[in-house]
Symmetry: C2
DNA sequence: AAGGATTACTGCACTCAGTGCGGAAATGCA
DNA sequence: TGCATTTCCGCACTGAGTGCAGTAATCCTT
C-alpha cells in the first residue's frame, strides 16, 4: 500500500522521462520536420531505448497531445462546479473555455508546433480529431448528468458537437486562408464568427 | 485530346479494378477482420500486384470511403441549385441531407461494415473524421459563395461545423450505448436530437 | 495496320511504426 | 539485506507505404 502524500521515485522519474520525450520531440520536429524524425531519434535524444518509448506514448502522434487528459479533466470539473441557475448551453461554453485555456499557451513551442503539424501532417490531424471527439463524448456525458431533467446523453452530445464543431470549423477555415494574421487576431476572428453562429442559442430568454 | 462522350478502355478497366478492390476488401474484412487482413491479401483477391494497390487507394483506410467524393459533389450541387428565397441554414441542411443520402445504403454491406469499423478501429475513425472535415470546409466555401451578402468563409465554416457536429455527436453517442436498436430507430433518435438542438436556428422568423 | 509515345502494372529492396517476448536492471517494501 | 514487483530494453518480426526501374498494355497518329 502506498501512502497518498508520497510521490514515489518511480512516478517522479516517469514524469521526468515523459517530459524529456516531449521536449526532445518538439525540438527534433522543429529542426528536422515531423516525418524526418524517427521514434528512434526521439528515444535516443531522451536517453531511453527505442522499445521503451512505447510504454510512454502509444503512437508518435500522441507526443503532440500530452496534456489532453488534463484539459478534459478541467472541463469536466467546470461542469461539476456549475451554478444552479445556469442553463446547459452556458455551462457547456464555460467548460469548453477551460479546454481552450491551455491553448493560451499558443505561445508555448509545443502548441505552436502542434497547430502547424495539424494542418500539415494528415496522421496528426486524424489523431487530434479523434482525441477531440472522445473528449466531446465525455463532456456530453457529464453535461447530461448535470442536467438530468433537461438533457439526455444523445441530446447533450448533439449540443456539444454543435458548439465544438462551430469552433473547429471556424479555426479550420481561418488556418486555411494563408493570411499573415497573428495569433491574437486569429483568436478574435474565430470568437466573432462563433459568437455570431451560436447567438440563436444564447440570447433566448 | 479525348472526346468527352468517349469512355476509354483504360477508364472502364480502372473503375472495374477499383470496384473489385472494394468488394474484395469488404468480404475479407468481414471474414477475417480489418487488422487480420493485409493489403497483400486484398490485392491478391482482386488479382493485382501488391504494389499496384497503392495506385488505386493511398491507404488501407481509404478502401472504406470509396464514394466520399461523389457525396461531396452531390452536396455542392445542392448548394448551387438553391432556391433564391432560402436562408443559409436551410440550404445547408438540404446539402447535408444529400451527403447522408448515401448512408441510406446503411443496408449496403460496405456502409454497415464502415460503421462498425469506425467505432472499432482507431485509424479508420481518424480517416473518417479527416474526410468529414475536409468535406465540411469545402461545403462552407461553397455556402459562403452562394450567400456572399450574408456569410464569409469563416462564418460559413462555423455554421457548417455546428450542424455537422450536432449530427456527428448524436451519432457517436448513439453508437456508444450498446442497445439493440435497429438502423431505423437509431436514425429516428438521431434526427430527433439534432432537430431539437438546431431548433433555435430554424424557427426564427 | 503499324509506329512510337504515354501510361499503367509489378517485383524488389527499403524505411519506419508498432508488437510480443524474454532477460536484465531498477525500485519498493519488509 | 533480501525478495517481489515494475520497468527497461534488445531482438526478431509484421505490415504499411515509397522509390525505382523494367515490362506490358493502351492510345493516338499517320
Amino acid at each position: 500500500m502506498r501512502y497518498c502524500w508520497h510521490v514515489s521515485l518511480r512516478e517522479r522519474k516517469r514524469a521526468r522521462t515523459r517530459q524529456a520525450l516531449v521536449d526532445a520531440a518538439t525540438r527534433l520536429f522543429e529542426t528536422q520536420g515531423y516525418e524526418g524524425t524517427t521514434i528512434a531519434d526521439i528515444a535516443a535524444a531522451a536517453e531511453i531505448g527505442t522499445r521503451t518509448f512505447f510504454s510512454y506514448f502509444a503512437t508518435k502522434e500522441d507526443l503532440l497531445f500530452p496534456e489532453a487528459e488534463d484539459r478534459l479533466r478541467a472541463a469536466l470539473d467546470a461542469i461539476a462546479a456549475r451554478d444552479p441557475g445556469d442553463r446547459p448551453a452556458e455551462v457547456l461554453l464555460i467548460a469548453l473555455r477551460h479546454v481552450g485555456e491551455a491553448s493560451d499557451e499558443i505561445v508555448s513551442p509545443l502548441a505552436a508546433l502542434r497547430l502547424e503539424l495539424i494542418s500539415t501532417v494528415p496522421s496528426v490531424r486524424g489523431r487530434g480529431l479523434q482525441i477531440q471527439q472522445d473528449a466531446q463524448l465525455e463532456i456530453a456525458r457529464h453535461l447530461a448528468a448535470a442536467f438530468p431533467d433537461e438533457l439526455d446523453v444523445v441530446g447533450a452530445a448533439a449540443l456539444t458537437g454543435a458548439f465544438v464543431g462551430a469552433v473547429t470549423g471556424a479555426l479550420q477555415a481561418l488556418f486555411d486562408q494563408p493570411d499573415g494574421r497573428g495569433p491574437a487576431e486569429l483568436r478574435a476572428a474565430m470568437q466573432a464568427a462563433v459568437a455570431q453562429t451560436l447567438a440563436p442559442w444564447m440570447d433566448e430568454r
